[in-house]
């Protein structure tokens, strides 16, 4: 398995501002992903964070709204830009280690 630390664990932000979420893993991993879980809903993949290159975004998600950095094999950031109340969700990073996919505790974002 892997120990995944996300910061912050929660935040309340004003609309129009941006928040950067950090994800730190205790070992080097090739595959790192960012997911969104809207209130009471399932998880949806936002993007794959690629080390040394631009992230790969899923349909419905764009780089301008969700810029991602992956400077090394243990760390990634997701920024939620120009936030609106519709961005209120839990944002989770995930890594593939061995035979499993493991998730951080998530960042609970509320936009007011």
């Amino acid at each position: 398995s892997a120990v995944i630390s996300q910061k912050p664990s929660r935040d309340i932000c004003q609309r129009g501002t941006s928040l950067t979420i950090q994800c730190q893993v205790d070992s080097q991993v090739t595959m790192m992903f960012w997911y969104r879980q809207q209130p009471g809903q399932s998880l949806t993949l936002i993007a794959t964070a690629n080390q040394g290159s631009e992230a790969t975004y899923e349909s419905g998600f764009v780089i301008d709204k969700f810029p991602i950095s992956r400077p090394n094999l243990t760390f990634s950031t997701l920024t939620v830009s120009n936030m609106s109340p519709e961005d209120s969700s839990i944002y989770l990073c995930s890594v593939v280690v061995g035979q499993g996919d493991f998730f951080g505790q998530g960042t609970r974002l509320t936009v007011v």
């Binding site: 398995s1 995944i4 595959m31 992903f33 997911y35 809903q41 399932s42 998880l43 949806t44 993949l45 794959t48 899923e58 989770l92 995930s94 593939v96 035979q99 499993g100 996919d101 493991f102 998730f103 951080g104 505790q105 998530g106 609970r108």
Partner: protein, 112 residues
């Protein structure tokens, strides 16, 4: 074709009973099928996973049954306990991509 359909949406089981959650998929390229358990305020925790070359996998009280021809898989929780009360998600992926497609989730309540 990328969807994973999960049922039921909610489930109430008496302590000691068997909880059964079902999932169905369309994409025959999926080759990895994990189940996650999520408690409120926490990230999803990997419970058990199966590959399509086996029909059943058991870990403790948790069993996955897999029917490749029907493109269905299910989670059985034997001797359900109140501590099992949580939301359960099935998922599927093509392992080389690492991207998980999640079902809609099942909220399980185990009554004492």
């Amino acid at each position: 074709q990328q969807q994973v359909k999960q049922s039921p949406q909610s489930l109430i089981v008496q302590k000691g009973g068997i909880s059964i959650i079902n999932c169905a998929y369309e994409n025959t390229a999926f080759d990895y099928f994990p189940w996650y358990q999520q408690f409120p305020g926490k990230g999803p925790a990997l419970l058990i996973a199966i590959r399509p070359d086996v029909s059943e996998k058991k870990e403790g009280r948790f069993t996955i049954s897999f029917n490749k021809s029907a493109k269905q898989f299910s989670l059985h929780i034997m001797d359900s306990q109140p501590g099992d009360s949580a939301t359960y998600f099935c998922a599927a992926s093509m392992r080389f991509t690492g991207k998980l497609i999640f079902g809609q989730g099942t909220t399980l309540q185990v009554k004492p």
